[in-house]
């Protein structure tokens, strides 16, 4: 018997990751290094926010909620402490290297997770995962291209990319922690996060090495993942800004 509430919690956590990463990336709009990249990254941010909507809608179906209103309520009226996104996605956008590398690390994990989800025994879940996966192929190409070019580019670009890796790596390990609700789901509904982490770690380690980047020895590993219930000091400000307009008039129609 499938625990609908457990799967909904899992999907809301996935949606929160996409939403907050999309929101952080949207902060580059008007500030990217060049116009074309500005357009590309704004598109990518919109895609992530669009994916969050798909997951919130599925969660609404599972909870018997109104799928037209549920996503907005989750995004604009939920208190900051109830969000279950990773700290990795909420960190301030940093420089271009930081944002590209974060997106890359996240996207590789997402590709592995979507591959698993698209074979889920839960048909509605498998269908949405397959749709998102098609779109994510280009996200990954985009960020792979940037990580390689900055990693192997100039002394400055390599230094910045290495600094981004040093800063992001301790947070990236959070990717491998089990999602809320995951433990209560029967086999075949969602892929095992710990197994995805192993596949992710092998792929990104090889790719980063080829891009001239070094994972610092002694970095913390999966043994001590950061809880999704814990948020960094910058998160409250992000939520406050994101929700400020909606909260002026929660009943307004858009």
């Amino acid at each position: 018997m499938l625990d609908h509430k457990a799967l909904a919690r899992y999907l809301i956590a996935l949606a929160d990751d996409e939403l907050i990463l999309g929101h952080r990336n949207s902060e580059w709009t008007g500030h990217a290094p060049i116009l074309e990249e500005d357009i590309a990254f704004a598109n990518l941010a919109l895609d992530e926010i669009g994916h969050s909507r798909l997951w919130y809608e599925l969660a609404a179906d599972l909870l018997g909620e109104d799928r037209a209103r549920f996503p907005d309520r989750q995004v604009f009226l939920r208190p900051a402490e109830e969000f279950r996104n990773l700290q990795l996605v909420e960190l301030p956008r940093g420089d271009w290297a930081f944002s590209m590398l974060r997106q890359y690390l996240f996207d590789v994990f997402e590709q592995h997770r979507l591959a698993g989800l698209s074979e889920s025994t839960q048909a509605s879940l498998a269908e949405v995962a397959a749709r998102i996966r098609t779109e994510e192929i280009y996200h990954l190409r985009h960020t792979r291209a940037w990580v390689t070019r900055l990693g192997l580019g100039t002394e400055e670009s390599n230094r910045r990319m290495q600094a981004a890796l040093d800063a992001l790596w301790p947070y990236a390990r959070g990717l491998g922690g089990a999602l809320p609700g995951e433990a209560g789901l029967p086999a075949g509904v969602v892929p095992d996060s710990a197994a995805l982490y192993e596949a992710w770690l092998a792929e990104v380690s090889a790719f980063l090495a080829e891009a001239g980047l070094t994972i610092q020895p002694g970095s913390p590993d999966l043994q001590s993942p950061i809880s999704r219930a814990d948020h960094s000091s910058d998160f409250a400000a992000l939520i406050e800004e994101m929700q400020s307009v909606a909260r002026l008039d929660p009943e307004a129609t858009w």
């Binding site: 290094p33 060049i34 116009l35 074309e36 357009i39 590309a40 598109n43 919109l46 985009h142």
Partner: protein
Amino acid sequence: MNDTQWPRYEVFQQEAEGKPVLHNGTVHAADIELALLNARSVFARRPDATQMWVAPAEQITSRTREELAADPPAAEAAGAAEAYYIFGKLAEQAQASLLGEVGAASGEAAVAAALAQFGAEAALRWWAVPAAAVLKSDPADAGPMFAPAREKTYKDQAEYPVVTMMRQLRAKANTNHKDTENTK
């Protein structure tokens, strides 16, 4: 880093199977692979696409009909012949369209070959694009490359009739203004 202008790439696009390959615009990019990625972000929705090409602008030989009349291109060039795509701008308002391929040893010789093959009056402007310099989207990749944009109507400029709306607002403002003047 004061100069952020990366090299320019021309973007060509085919709207559907059987339709012409048309010039659709320009992107800047650090290299040709990124140019194709950028072209997808900027143009994939305008209009629909089944394939996309990018070529470095600096490798394209471009001649107007007037330039060619004043200074006819040399048909002979030293070196081995290579394939060139010939694009022609057929009307003042039209996008350059792929007319065909010629073999030539230089861009100028390719233009001369194009004039002989298609007729000097066929186009207002000619472009000879070395085939080897073109990066094309992978046909096997058309799904991920173009399908996601189709569902996203909010990315279509036609969804934002800003110019029409501004015109209507201005017309209304002018009418109101005249009414005020008349009642004075």
